[in-house]
């Protein structure tokens, strides 16, 4: 592969031909701030935060500008700093960004940049357009467009990753808004609740129903695991709060899913902490389930299976196992059926 040499703030780095300036910077651990860019979606170039100075002259958006051999990049100087501050100030003035009430407080990319560039609080002198707030129509997603910076990540997340194209911009100029399908509420749209738009949203404009009131982002504890629902093996970061309650599931970018999840991985884990879960075996006695000890329950199952096997033969017994079990558990199940019961009647829920 062709390599190119560039300097970032005086530091020489190597990039690949065909990369943008920002891509080279990210590969080399050089920090350039951005809002509309995301590695999982196509380039937009709309937020203008990632402007850098190329060869001491022109300001170029690093997310879309091709890197070239011998380029000299300054990632920040006084003018760029001022521009970033002005643009961030415009975003603050355009929307309603009150971190006190925002469930994404602490994880918001806009918040982080406003902090970094010491952006003054908006004066409120410019008229704002009220945009849609819909926290009820969907049981998975919440939408508060007053926190939206119209970066377009959700639009592209939906059309390029989930391939569902629910989100789109409508209106124009300062009256631009998001729409889901044909001006529908998100809950009435064709949204499949994969949550990819929320995961990519740089602010709290899109959120999950499960987040609000369950602890601040910095109080949450993260555990990574593999999704149990299908064979893709998506890596998921589970966030639990101080009480140990599951708050949200986010796709881990290191996994084969590259951060993406489907509705099952995103919202399908509340059963773990459900109070309806069985914690002890139950045996039906006189038409009613009664709690029992494991020895008693297993003894009962073994005797009943032996009874059936001797009365009607091993092929009158069948076992289903589950994708939620590990490979080892599934192996044991079929081994038990074949070696102990003596039948090949083995199947799996994923075939249903």
């Amino acid at each position: 592969m062709d390599t190119i040499q560039l300097t970032f703030d005086g530091k020489e780095v190597t990039g690949k031909k065909g990369q943008t300036i920002l891509e080279v910077a990210r590969d080399n651990g050089i920090d350039i701030p951005y809002l509309c860019y995301h590695p999982r979606i196509s380039k937009t170039g709309a937020c203008r935060i990632c402007l850098v100075r190329v060869n001491d002259t022109a300001l170029k958006p690093s997310c879309t500008e091709p890197a070239a051999n011998g380029m000299k990049i300054d990632t920040e100087d006084e003018e760029i700093r001022e521009l970033r501050r002005s643009i961030l100030g415009m975003l603050l003035a355009e929307g309603d960004h009150n971190c006190l009430y925002c469930e994404w407080n602490g994880e918001c990319e806009l918040q982080r940049l406003c902090h970094r560039y010491d952006v003054p609080e908006p004066t409120g002198e410019f008229p704002k357009r009220e945009r849609e707030v819909d926290t009820v129509s969907s049981n998975g997603l919440r939408r508060n467009e007053n926190r939206c910076i119209l970066c377009g990540r959700c639009v592209k997340a939906c059309s390029e990753i989930q391939m569902n194209s629910v989100w789109e911009f409508t209106g124009r100029g300062s009256a631009t808004t998001l729409t889901s399908d044909m001006f529908d509420r998100i809950g009435d749209s064709s949204c499949v609740k994969c949550g990819t738009c929320v995961q990519l949203c740089p602010t709290g404009a899109l959120s999950f129903q499960t987040v609000l009131g369950r602890g601040q982002s910095w109080e949450l504890q993260k555990e990574s695991s593999i999704c149990i629902y299908c064979g893709v093996g998506c890596k998921i970061d589970f966030y639990t709060n101080k009480e140990g309650v599951l708050v949200k599931a986010m796709g881990n970018e290191q996994g084969p899913n590259e951060g993406h999840l489907c509705v099952k991985g995103r919202f399908g884990f509340d059963f773990v902490q459900s109070d309806k879960r069985l914690t002890k075996p139950l045996i039906k006695k006189n038409g009613k389930f009664e709690e029992a000890e494991w020895d008693e329950a297993l003894g009962l199952v073994a005797s009943k299976l032996s009874e059936i096997k001797s009365a009607t033969g091993p092929d009158s017994i069948m076992a289903f196992s589950s994708a939620k079990c590990t490979n080892e558990e599934n192996y044991l199940m079929q081994k038990f059926m074949r070696a102990v019961i003596g039948t090949n009647n083995v199947d799996h829920c994923a075939r249903l």
Partner: protein
């Protein structure tokens, strides 16, 4: 609307996304109420196999479409520079009085709905309005009422029925001192008959081209020094060389989205001499090895669309468009695409997105259209005036062409005169004519003997020229050195009665309305600029607000995605250069300004202003 009616309409145009604009326009006319309701749009999305959001996003972008029922006739009153100066507030007054409706409101009988709009391209007969697709100019109270009355028995159609005053011929200044090249045949050639064009030597340049090598043609255009007439002034021949060579499909795209307020040259050229454009496109197509051309015409130019379509049909019949043109191996055809009311689509990459049935967002460059344009294929985008200059360059040679005009900006230029002049209209002069000459000779001086205050040259995105720049050659390079621009050739002249604040408010409201909203500096910046100047016009402003105009526009200039957001700095700084005092005066709450009062009362009233 019934699904069968919708499917029939889709069938008529084809169910590819690129036909969405024409399909929706047709359906809107069929609705009889100028509406594309949600149910219709859902059906369109389903039948065209498009995401619903994509259709919703498209409809929301183009201002000519609305999802709420309007009326049988939508009256769009222009409020852009020339019309504003010539009294569009009065037009709103009369309509409001006569029909009892404000902006965004409809009459109870369902006949009329009132909207304000930006430039309709008939600036020499300002003030103007458009009723559905019919444009009427020279509006006086009496005329407005009689025009409105004439619609009582009409039915909405896609066929235009414009007033005589907006006729292309009528909008050309008849002065023998001009140097007529591009408009030499305007009024001489019958635009409806290809024979008339051919009798004047039409399509001879194409014939000649087909005997030349494509590279030779490109070289001739390069040698001629022809620079893009859309506003940017990029050398046309050089642009042609950027089209990626190879066996793939390439396109010639004609940018006929003439939206810069005050510009009407392309409309006149297209209406009066449509075959010249087809010939220019065909020569370009041969030169860059493109077998297909598209003309993207703004939706407001119904007459241009109709006449060009007719010209295309005739040329196809004669075998001038089609296969093996004039017995050569060259195949070429031209198709028309329409706009939907979006100034930003004059930006070539926005235009291409719009052609593809998408929101007219500009694309980042590179890749440039010459590498990846329409449908991702190499496309050469040129303005109407540029392409129409090509046949004469081929016919008469590069040396003949560049004998006129300054060294680096050769040829003639079409100047669009509007505003407070004794005579307004289109003139063709050598590139680099001065404001003084244009005003005094071709405009016959200031109207009603009033004093000159300033001229806006280059359209809303252009700068303000005061008395000191009367002798500045209006070519492509000289104005740049003075912080102004020739742009598309607009010369809008204002007299002492024009309020600088009021004028700037109209420009900045234009930019807010026309910003596509993709990038932050332009989306928020245009809204904030508009709010600031409105505050000053309302006499609630301070000197800090005046400075804030410059600060915001500077950020926009440095950081905006495309030329639209980079433009407002020019009218702002040049206006303040001359008239800062007037702005300061407006910061006094007791300052009297009937003009600002009137604009504030008219343009910002009604349900949908």
């Amino acid at each position: 609307m019934k699904p069968e009616k919708i499917s029939k309409t889709i069938e008529k145009y084809g169910n590819d996304r690129e036909h969405l604009m024409l399909i929706l326009r047709d359906l809107e006319v069929q609705s009889g109420k100028n509406v594309l309701d949600v149910q219709t749009l859902r059906s369109v999305a389903e039948q065209m196999n498009m995401p619903q959001g994509a259709v919703a996003g498209f409809v929301g972008f183009y201002t000519m479409f609305k999802t709420e029922p309007r009326a049988r006739f939508v009256i769009r009153v222009c409020k852009s520079g020339p019309c504003h100066v010539m009294g569009s507030t009065n037009v709103f007054d009369v309509i409001q009085k006569h029909l009892g409706i404000g902006i965004g409101e409809g009459t109870k009988d369902g006949l009329f709905f009132l909207e304000k709009c930006e430039c309709l391209g008939v600036c020499s007969v300002a003030p103007a309005m458009m009723i559905n697709y019919d444009i009427h100019g020279n509006l006086t109270p009496k005329r407005i009422v009689s025009i409105l009355n004439s619609y009582k028995k009409k039915k909405p159609t896609l066929k235009e029925d414009c007033g005589k005053e907006v006729d292309g011929k009528a909008c050309v200044i008849n002065d023998p001192k001009q140097m007529k090249r591009l408009i030499a045949d305007v009024g001489v050639v019958d635009p409806l008959k290809i024979e008339s064009y051919m009798a004047r030597g039409g399509y001879e340049a194409l014939k000649k081209s087909l005997k030349m090598e494509p590279a030779q043609i490109v070289q001739t255009v390069k040698d001629s020094g022809l620079r893009g007439r859309g506003g940017a002034g990029f050398p046309a021949g050089v642009k042609w060389t950027f089209v990626t060579k190879g066996p793939h499909q390439k396109y010639v795209v004609c940018n006929a989205d003439e939206g810069e307020p005050g510009t009407f040259k392309d409309r006149i050229l297209m209406e009066e001499n449509p075959h010249l454009l087809l010939e220019g496109m065909a020569v370009c197509g041969y030169a860059i090895d493109a077998s297909l051309g598209y003309i993207y015409i703004r939706g407001e130019y119904r007459r241009s669309i109709e006449r060009l379509q007719r010209a295309i049909d005739q040329a196809r019949q004669k075998g001038i468009l089609g296969k093996n043109i004039f017995g050569s191996k060259f195949n070429f055809d031209v198709l028309i695409k329409e706009g939907g009311g979006a100034y930003v689509c004059g930006e070539e990459t926005s235009l291409i997105n719009s052609m593809e049935g998408k929101r007219g967002y500009p694309r980042f460059k590179p890749p440039f259209p010459g590498g990846a344009g329409f449908n991702g294929l190499p496309s050469n985008v040129n303005n109407v005036e540029t392409l129409m200059s090509v046949p004469m360059i081929i016919g008469k040679g590069a040396d003949w062409y560049k004998a006129v005009g300054p060294q680096n900006c050769s040829g003639t230029k079409l100047y669009c005169l509007s505003g407070k002049l004794n005579r307004t209209g289109l003139v063709e002069l050598p590139m680099g004519s001065t404001l003084k000459e244009i005003i005094n000779v071709y405009g016959k001086g200031m109207a009603k003997g009033k004093k000159f205050k300033f001229a806006q040259v280059g359209g809303s995105a252009g700068g303000i020229l005061g008395k000191d720049l009367m002798d500045l050659p209006l070519d492509i390079d000289s104005p740049m050195k003075k912080g102004v621009t020739l742009g598309s050739g607009v010369v809008l002249v204002c007299d002492e009665g024009t309020c600088a604040v009021d004028f700037l408010m109209q420009i900045l409201s234009f930019f807010e309305h026309e910003s596509c909203g993709q990038c932050v500096p332009c989306r928020v910046g245009t809204a904030q600029l508009h709010a600031l100047v409105k505050k000053i016009a309302e006499r609630r402003g301070t000197e800090q607000d005046i400075d804030a105009l410059v600060e915001k526009a500077t950020v926009m200039k440095k950081a905006s995605f495309c030329a639209l957001g980079q433009s407002p700095i020019m009218p702002i700084t040049t206006m303040l250069k001359y008239f800062r005092k007037e702005f300061v005066a407006h910061c006094n709450p007791k300052h009297k300004c009937p003009q600002c009062d009137k604009s504030l009362a008219r343009y910002y009233s009604g349900r949908g202003h």
